[in-house]
């Protein structure tokens, strides 16, 4: 009866696209938060910079990252299409309309999503773009493997050829781009910190509806698993993860 393009142009097919890209973005949040926890390590950014290098150079991760960028774009573009279609479905608005039975988030996913998109653009231009093509400073870590002490020195662009990590005479030397310093500097700006905290609040509200909604769209509403899905949606995705992310700018601001 139909091919894939027909399937995905139906209202149910579009829902499925939103659901799958949304869940993929959710899974990314877990990875992103776990990795970024290294920001809290008191090592002048050694662990974080190593992690940043790994994430941008390991081929499988690179492949997944392109999937991720396209998911962000597809999720946003489809949201726009769906919103336009849904607005068309009711040309004359009600004079009075109750929200009975629904939560505020579910009725304002578009607004919350727009805040998140602005955040992602700003976030990626601050760090992702700067790290790849911008002027990120360079750093050299010399760790004495016997004492465990690390000496950190900033190095100039001429001293940095590429990322290296080797052991020489019992001293581990790592030369890398210093994204950690970039993060620490950026998060001294109060307006940026405020914007990040606001965006995480928006993410919390977006996911309190979005996560469980994705499973409803998939048709996975089995009474055995539904309580677990709701629990994870609320506690992990709209409380724990946003708090974890919001703690990062606040940590550097007050450090």
């Amino acid at each position: 009866m139909s091919n894939f393009s027909n399937t995905f142009s139906s209202t149910l097919g579009k829902k499925l696209i939103m659901c799958l890209t949304g869940l993929f973005l959710c899974s990314f949040l877990i990875v992103h938060l776990t990795g970024n926890l290294s920001l809290f390590k008191n090592d002048e950014g050694l662990a974080f910079n190593q992690y940043a290098h790994f994430m941008t150079n390991f081929t499988p991760i690179k492949v997944v990252s392109y999937l991720l960028y396209s998911s962000i774009i597809i999720h946003s573009v489809f949201a726009l299409f769906i919103t336009i279609q849904n607005k068309k479905a009711r040309p004359v608005a009600y004079a009075q309309k109750s929200g009975n039975g629904s939560i505020w988030s579910s009725r304002n996913m578009g607004v919350l999503g727009t805040i998140l998109l602005l955040f992602i653009v700003s976030h990626m231009s601050s760090f992702w773009y700067e790290y790849h093509w911008g002027e990120t400073p360079y750093v050299k870590y010399e760790t004495d493997l016997n004492t465990g002490k690390t000496i950190t020195t900033e190095i100039s662009a001429s001293d940095y050829i590429e990322y290296v990590s080797y052991v020489n005479n019992g001293i581990e030397i790592t030369k890398s781009k210093n994204l950690y310093k970039e993060v620490a500097t950026e998060f001294k700006e109060w307006y940026l910190v405020a914007f990040y905290v606001l965006a995480m609040l928006a993410m919390s509200f977006h996911l309190v509806h979005g996560f469980q909604s994705a499973f409803q769209t998939l048709g996975w509403d089995h009474s055995k698993y539904k309580p677990l899905i709701n629990f994870i949606g609320v506690w992990v995705f709209s409380i724990l993860i946003p708090i974890g992310f919001a703690a990062m700018p606040l940590y550097f601001f007050f450090k």
């Binding site: 209202t11 499925l16 849904n86 009711r90 608005a93 009975n100 629904s102 579910s106 996913m109």
Partner: protein, 253 residues
């Protein structure tokens, strides 16, 4: 009871409507909402004015004809109640009540508060039926159906096609209605023959009528006078995706 009514008046499909305010002071709390409108209409007729047009039929809460948006809620403030079963005791004297027609591009206003809901009929025609043999009368209980399945199918089948789900949805989506109709057949053995084609055909027709998409706000479930559950929507999604992605439509030769 003294009431101020703000009623949507619209001459015909093409005319642009507006709210007209009526004051009424001879409303009994024992009247149903429709009887209250009857009283207002009698007054209008006596004054040689055009009465307010609204849909109604059985007035017993089973036909699904009455369809009024009352203070922003389909069928008014009472849970699991159609407009005809809503009584004026649910309101207080001195209240202002805003009465609007269902708003959807697929429900054009015929006049005042009456809308054309034949789009829902066309969705039913697309797949809301089963093929049965017309032979002799079969024995009762010939087909064994587990109780839980029978109950679930019956719950879905209690949909009276009033359109409150569309009216309640912020996207004017008809998915609660369509999913209830898909479910009642998908669950039962008698509905298996057209099971997957049904889901596809009804969803296709729903989209053609211009209904919006579901964003899982679940307002439809809260406002449905027959308490149809959004579980039906999840089931419809399963049926549809199963039909689109997993069912092989050609015999292997």
């Amino acid at each position: 009871m003294n009431l101020t009514l703000k009623v949507w008046r619209q001459k015909n499909r093409k005319a642009s409507g507006k709210f007209v305010t009526y004051k009424t002071d001879d409303v009994s709390p024992d009247m149903s909402f429709l009887e209250m409108l009857d009283v207002v209409n009698e007054g209008l007729v006596k004054k040689q004015e055009e009465p307010i047009q609204f849909d109604h039929d059985c007035r017993e809460g089973i036909c699904g004809s009455c369809a009024l948006m009352i203070n922003g809620q389909p069928h008014g403030p009472k849970k699991a109640t159609t407009t005809c079963q809503l009584h004026m005791r649910s309101f207080n004297t001195g209240d202002t009540i805003v009465i609007e027609p269902w708003r959807s591009v697929a429900f054009p206003v015929v006049k005042d508060l009456a809308v054309d809901r034949s789009s829902l009929d066309r969705i039913q025609h697309a797949g809301g039926y089963v093929s049965v043999g017309t032979g002799g009368v079969p024995d009762a209980n010939e087909i064994a159906i587990p109780k839980v399945i029978a109950d679930e199918a019956f719950n879905s089948a209690t949909c009276i096609q009033c359109g409150a789900c569309v009216a309640a949805c912020k996207n004017a989506s008809a998915m609660l209605f369509v999913s209830a109709k898909v479910s009642q057949y998908a669950l039962l053995p008698q509905g298996q023959t057209e099971r997957y084609e049904r889901a596809q055909a009804m969803v296709l027709q729903m989209d053609e009528e211009g209904f919006g998409g579901c964003t899982n706000t679940y307002q439809c479930e809260a406002e449905c006078p027959k308490e149809i559950k959004v579980t039906n929507i999840a089931r419809m999604n399963r049926e549809y995706f199963n039909a689109e992605f997993l069912q092989d439509k050609k015999a292997h030769v």
